[in-house]
Structure formats: C-alpha cells, structure tokens
C-alpha cells in the first residue's frame, strides 16, 4: 500500500510522502487486515516446502539444506492404509457435523424467532449459546463424565427407566463415535450459530408476515414460505464456508474425545498429522498430508460454489 502511494506521489513533489499517508490514513488502516492475512495465512506456506525434502528440524528455516525427495512422501501417503482411514473419518465426521449443526441451529433459530415473550427468548438464547464459551478441554471432561458407563448420569437414568439392562459405554464405542462428536458439537455450537440466522431473520420485512396473516397463512406456512426463503442466502454462504472447513473437523474436539477404544473411527487426518509431527517427528510426511488436506478443501469450496450456482444461478464467488 505504501509503495503504491509513493508511486502516485512522486510526480507531484509538492505534497510530501508522509503528508499523503496522513491524508489517506483510513486507507492505510484498512490495509492492515490484508497485511495480517498475508503474514499469517500466506507466508507460512513456505513451510509446504518441507514436504518435498527429507527435512531435519536442525536446519530451521533453511529447507534447501535438506535432501530433495520430490513427491516421494506423497506417494508413500497414498499407499498408507491409515491415511485413507483418516480421510474416511474426517469426511464422515465432517459431513455429519455439518448436517447436524445446520439442522439444529436452524431449527433453534426458527423456534427462538417464533417466541414472542422477550424474557423467555433471551433466557433460551443465553443458555443455548453459553456452551460455546466453554473450552473443549472442559467440555470433553463434562461429556466423559455425563456418558460414563461407571455411574454417569445418562446411564443411570437409562438404567432406572429400564431402557438398558447394563451400562453402555457411549464414548467407548467406535461405532457411534462420529455421532457422539456431531452431537457434542450441536450442544456446543448450535446456540451460537443460531445467532447468525436470528440476525438474518430480523431483517425480514414485517409487512410480508402481515400480508401473509391477511391471506390466512398459519405459523408453519409462514416459516416455510417467508422465514426460510428470506434467509436462504445466509444459509448458502455459511454452507459453502463450512464445506471449505470440512476436513478440519475440529482437531481439539476429536483429540480430546477420542480414547484407546475409539481409535478406529476417531483417527481423523488431523489426528494423524499431529501424530506425524509430534509423536514420530516425521515432518515431511506430516506436511505432505496437510498440503493434501488444504487441496481437498479448495476443491470442495470451488465444487460447492459451482453447485450452488447450478442450482439457482447465483454462487457466492
């Protein structure tokens, strides 16, 4: 930005450079986020180089001091059965999380929107978005205690009601781990996500509802024909954005909720990448996998946007 300004300034010597900067101070401030994005989102891409070298951490930033290995690590990755399992788990959990989080936060937003008593509305909203501010470390412990087969409250209640004969180890069953993660995510983020929809709903023209009332539309008919269509653009934008993050399932959530017994369905790509870096010190392999992760995300975003365009003629990009 500053280079640009100086280029403009040069021919007209009478206005000093700093003076020019001061005049355009709002623009300069506006450029800060761009610099931050470049600094924190693009400069680190330098690290991708690690994936093509037999990288040793002792060489620090000088990646080229290591032996060049080309695509060797990518090839090894695609032959690794644990990589494919990680991909399956990431995709499965990601899709399930998106579906659950959409359905539940949308439902919650619609229901809150329909409530007319303002104190009740506020209370529900506060209670439902509070879990968002609880750290996953704490949340994971709460979840483990709640679902514990060893006198956890859920098991106690189910036993007392006679629904099950012996305690079920909810968090220890690989078969339902994806579901548990999705549900935990709903509990933690549905209330918070609903805020965005609620905000979108407040901008709906009230006269639409009034004319619907005159036409004799019922509550559900109004939700279906006015509320939901009006917030469709918001839903679409959020969907495309969240599909871009499909493979980043939420590392800390999965890492904290997984245990020895759920390894099979809980080892997502991110957990695997983390193991590569942290457990085995295999930097190149870990980088190769995170590059793959990013590429898949880009493909998904572009694909989803195309799909959105195809469906109703307008995408977001």
């Amino acid at each position: 930005m500053s280079a640009q300004s100086s280029a403009i300034v040069k021919p007209r010597k009478q206005i000093g450079f700093w003076r020019q900067v001061w005049r355009q101070r709002q623009l300069v401030i506006l450029s800060l986020p761009v610099i931050l994005v470049l600094l924190f989102n693009y400069v680190p891409l330098w690290g991708w180089l690690v994936a093509f070298f037999n990288y040793k951490p002792t060489t620090g930033f000088n990646v080229f001091a290591n032996e060049f290995r080309g695509l060797e690590y990518f090839q090894a990755l695609f032959q690794d059965e644990y990589f494919w399992r990680g991909l399956k788990n990431s995709l499965g959990m990601g899709v399930l999380k998106i579906i659950f989080s959409y359905v539940f936060s949308l439902m919650l937003a619609v229901m809150i929107n329909e409530v007319r008593v303002s104190w009740f509305k506020r209370t529900v909203q506060t209670i439902s978005y509070l879990p968002h501010f609880v750290s996953w470390v704490v949340a994971a412990n709460l979840i483990f205690v709640t679902f514990s087969p060893d006198s956890g409250i859920v098991n106690e209640v189910l036993l007392a009601l006679g629904i099950i004969d012996h305690p079920v180890s909810f968090m220890g069953m690989p078969q339902i781990f994806w579901l548990m993660v999705a549900l935990a995510d709903v509990w933690k983020s549905a209330g918070y996500n609903a805020i965005v929809y609620l905000a979108a709903m407040t901008s709906i023209d009230p006269s639409l509802y009034e004319s619907a009332d005159i036409d004799g539309a019922g509550r559900f008919s109004k939700i279906w024909n006015i509320t939901l269509p009006s917030i469709t653009p918001t839903i679409k934008i959020l969907l495309v954005l969240s599909i871009g993050r499909l493979l980043s399932v939420g590392f800390e959530q999965v890492y904290l909720l997984k245990s020895a017994s759920t390894t099979e369905t809980a080892s997502t790509l991110e957990v695997y990448i983390y193991d590569f870096y942290m457990k085995y010190g295999m930097w190149a392999q870990g980088s190769a996998m995170s590059i793959f992760n990013s590429l898949v995300s880009v493909v998904l975003i572009v694909g989803c946007n195309l799909l959105a365009k195809r469906l109703d003629g307008e995408g977001i990009m």
Partner: protein
C-alpha cells in the same frame, strides 16, 4: 521470547557487574578450585538464572520448588536460580517435538523418553570436555559408563543415572487389594491363574464398595502410560525383566519385540476374560491417567498391573483415605516359569538423563551448576533434607535422623513442603548408592534404619500375616546388570531411524488393538489376534530387534565391572 531476551540481558548485566567487582568470571570454563567433594560456597559463583525443563509432572506442593527450604539451600549454595517448567500431561515426546519445532530450548533439560528426538535435533551441547575438568561429576561415572554415555558421533549429550534399588516396595508387580488378600486368608500369590481367580472370586463376593461397583481389573491406557497393556505387563509373566518394548534373552542377549509374543496374547486374553465376565473397569480404555489415579485412590480397584512409581499419586491418596484397601504387588508368573525378574538389574541407565541445551546462553556456568549439584553437599540436601531440621551427624560421622525426622521423611506431604526428594531428575541424578568421598548412603530410603521406619502400622500388621519384613520379600532380589537395559537402548535410538519408527508405529497399532482384543467376544479373540499380528507383520520389526540385539551386545563389555 521476551523472557528469553530478558534473561539474556540479565545475564549480560550480571556478567558485567561481576567483572567490575573483580570476581572470577573470566575463565568460567575451568571449574573453581574447590575442596573436592563439597560445592564451593555460593558467593564464589557468579549469580545466574537458568530455565529447566523437567520431563515429569510437578510433585512438590510448593511452586516454585526453589522456594522450599531445600530449594533455597541449593540456590544459596550454587548461586543459581532456577525457572522450572514441568511436563503437562504425560506425553514427553510431544513436548520435545514442540521444543524442536520452535528451536528454543530451556537451558537445562531432562530427556526422559525423548532422548532420541532431542539428540537428532541437535538440542544438546557436547559435554565431553567438561567432564574431564569437573570436580564432582567425573567421580560419579566409571570409564565404561562414560563410554556408554558416548553417542555414535563421539559426544556425550546428557548424563545418565544409576538406577538404585527400592528395598521397601518392589518397582512393579501384579497388584491385589489388601481386603481381597484378607478375605482369601493371605495367600502367597505366585501364578497368573491364581491372581485372576482371586480377583474373580473377590468381585463375585463383593460386587460393590462404598456404593460403587468394585473394579476387578483396570489398567492405564492413555498415551505412553498405555505401555502397561502394550508390553509392560506381559514380559514379567514370562520371566523377563524390563527391557522396554522388547524382551532380551539373558544369555544370548537376543531381543524380541513383545507385542506379537505368545505371552502378550495371554495377557490380552486375561483382559478379554475379565471384560466378558463384566468385572473389568468399563472405562479402562477411555480413561485419562488422572482418572485412573483417582480410581486407585477410591479403593475400588481389586487388582491391576503397573509400575509403582507410575501409580504413586493414587496409592498416596489410597493410603490417606482407606489404607485397609492398599494395593500390594506380587511377582506373578505363568505356570512353569521358574524365575521371575520383576525387580530387574541394578543398572546404569545411559539412555536418558540431564543435558545442557544449545540455546543456553552460558553453558559453562550451567555445567558448573550441574557439577555443584552432583556434589555430596548438594546431593545430601536434595535427598536427606536440611541439616539440623531433617538430619544431623551421628557419632560415627554418618547421617542420622531422629524418630520424628524419620516420620517426617515417611510423610509425603512433609517432603513436598520441605522440598526433599522432589524435582524428579534432580534428586536422583546421578543416583549413586553411596557418595564416593564419604561412603554415606545417598538415599535415606536405602539405609538399614529406614527399613524399620518405612512402614505404617497397617503395613506391619499385613506383613505379619506373611511372616515377612518387607513387601519385597516375595520378589527375587536385584542383580548386577550385564547389558544396557532395553528401555535405555530404545530411548537413545535416533527418532528418524526407520527401525525406531517401526517400533513406535507398532505401539500405536497395539494401542488400537488391545481394546479390541479385550472387548471382543471370547470366540472371536483368536481372529482379532491374527488380524493384529498380520498388521504388525507389515512393519520391519525384525530389523528393530536386530538393532536392539546389536546394541545390547555392544554394551555388554562395558557392564563387566
């Protein structure tokens, strides 16, 4: 970052002040002339501050530990202030990876399981030259031990320690609840079958305790603590000592990876049996180490395998809450196994230790500190406590404690407050049994007096039923090591070595399959086992075995004292 800079500035400032004052900072390389064993007085040393990473959880209740009386004494003696960082969680290698990625290390660090990672990353300053010029450290190691500490590139990066023997409690074993033993009329437990049957009978008769279900068997399964089920518990059953994830033949020194051995299969079968009987801990494969410790502390656990030092938090809580249900270890073996080697060798462990990092601003001063730390004076304080308060000189010139002082020494909380035997590595490094100069027994817990003081009344009462003096009586005694222990070998193999990666990957796969093996229906057990073994077959484990065999054989000449 800024703390680092601040430290650098501080040190620079202190150096300048030192020079102006005419202190002997000029040639820090040569250790100050001392009177042999004792550390020189603190005021002869330049004041310094070092950061230290303990690859272990904090044990002292006083934070920072340096504020305890023992810590203060040490600070005064060495003129070094320590900024101690402890390991959070239990994953040592993860912590090491973070340090390596950042390229910034604490000035002093203990290596624990991460020796290989840190060595490969070039985290340490070579110590060879320092040792020759040291006052105390050179007395702590024999020539062959120095050779053992020397890595392939000819450098010494960390100081290993001598594993001393605990004469009061065995280091590992198959534990049973005292209440169980009482109800079974104090049997001598020797076989694995018998151990299992005792638990089954007990849980059947006592399904609940304090309103909660009795836990027949539980084991640690979190991160590296899972070693108990991955390989730790089974080797002893077959009569092998602790050699990491391998067993080493005591005659030929041939190493075999445990995970696929028949005795490991038997161990998993036990878990499967207990699981299907419904008396295994339902949370066993999803609990954190803290949860396990609190379960042990609650007195609900009837039996388990582990190393004592790993469950000491739980056992301390149990002793305080409910001593009648204390856990007692037995040297359980398979039918037909003649000797057990639970207590293992008294050995020198070169595979891990304490070193000075490459990012330490003043390695010379740091070494001087380590050298002071190894002095008899400092070691005495670390292990015995402060003179006068915790011990005094006896008539023969040796160290003695009064009855009250022994009672305090037996009180975990007192020791934590006072700072005695806290700081993991610190107090037991270099871990000599007796000080080279005076011959004083280094650790109070190894003195004959301690054996008489060590036990609480409930323990003595329990032992009387077995006609025994100590809880080690039914274990075979330790012996002199003839080769470098397998766990020490494993720790120092380079991380990037594909053979080491094979071993570690095998552990990851094992941790996934042990829960499956334990939780499957008994009739499916063999099929799951075969699937597990076929997964491990894809890894170059035979090469890992060869490497360990070779390293063990190479170390053997240095263990012939």
């Amino acid at each position: 970052m800024s703390a680092k800079k601040g430290l650098a500035l501080l040190i620079a400032l202190l150096m300048t002040v030192g020079l102006l004052a005419g202190c002997s900072t000029g040639d820090a390389n040569a250790p100050a002339e001392g009177d042999g064993s004792a550390a020189a007085n603190g005021d002869e040393r330049t004041p310094a501050t070092f950061s230290l990473l303990q690859m272990a959880a904090a044990t002292s209740t006083v934070d920072p530990w340096i504020d305890t009386p023992v810590g203060q004494y040490l600070k005064e003696k060495t003129n070094v202030d320590l900024e101690i960082e402890y390991l959070v969680g239990s994953d040592v290698r993860q912590k090491a990876s973070l340090l390596i990625a950042a390229g910034e290390y604490p000035d002093l660090l203990t290596t624990s399981d991460a020796s290989g990672d840190l060595k490969a990353a070039g985290a340490f300053v070579p110590l060879n030259d320092y040792i020759e010029n040291s006052t105390n450290i050179k007395n702590c190691y024999t020539a062959s031990q120095i050779k053992l500490m020397t890595q392939e590139d000819g450098n010494i990066y960390w100081f290993g320690n001598h594993a001393s023997e605990n004469a009061v409690y065995p280091t590992a074993g198959y534990y049973l609840n005292m209440d169980l033993l009482k109800q079974a009329d104090y049997p001598q437990v020797t076989t694995f079958e018998q151990w299992q049957q005792l638990i089954i009978d007990y849980v059947e008769k006592n399904p609940t305790y304090n309103g909660q279900s009795t836990i027949g068997v539980t084991e640690p399964t979190e991160a590296w603590r899972a070693s108990a089920v991955q390989y730790g518990g089974s080797r002893f059953l077959a009569g092998y000592p602790n050699d990491g994830l391998t067993v080493i033949d005591q005659d030929t020194l041939e190493a075999k990876v445990i995970m696929t051995q028949d005795f490991q299969k038997e161990f998993c079968k036990m878990l499967n049996k207990m699981w299907n009987l419904g008396i295994a801990d339902p949370e066993m494969f999803m609990q954190t180490d803290e949860q396990l410790q609190s379960k042990i502390g609650s007195g609900r656990v009837a039996g388990m395998y582990d190393q004592r030092s790993m469950i000491s938090v739980g056992l301390d809580a149990l002793e305080a809450n409910d001593p009648s249900r204390m856990l007692v270890a037995f040297p359980v073996v398979f039918e037909g196994v003649e000797t057990e080697l639970y207590r293992g060798a008294r050995t020198f462990q070169p595979g891990f230790g304490i070193g000075i990092s490459v990012t330490c601003e003043d390695p010379d001063r740091a070494f001087q500190f380590l050298d002071d730390l190894a002095s008899e004076e400092c070691q005495t304080v670390l292990r015995w406590g402060v003179e006068g308060t915790d011990w005094s000189y006896g008539e023969d010139g040796g160290l003695t404690k009064t009855e009250e002082q022994w009672a305090q020494y037996n009180d975990v909380y007192y020791k934590q407050e006072q700072g005695i035997e806290q700081m993991g590595w610190f107090y037991f490094w270099p871990g000599l049994e007796a000080f080279p100069e005076s011959g004083t027994i280094a650790s109070p817990s190894n003195t004959p007096e301690y054996a008489q003081q060590a036990y609480e009344d409930y323990e003595l009462e329990f032992l009387s039923h077995y006609d025994a003096q100590t809880f080690c009586d039914w274990f075979n005694p330790s012996y002199d090591a003839t080769y470098e222990p397998g766990y020490s070998i494993r720790q120092r193999i380079d991380t990037s070595d594909p053979r080491k990666i094979a071993g570690e990957t095998a552990l990851t796969i094992t941790l996934e399959y042990v829960p499956k093996l334990a939780q499957c229906a008994p009739e499916d057990f063999d099929a799951v086992w075969d699937e597990f073994v076929s997964k491990l077959d894809d890894l170059p484990l035979a090469e890992y075995e060869e490497l360990v065999t070779q390293m063990a054989q190479e170390s053997a000449p240095n263990y012939q004292n």
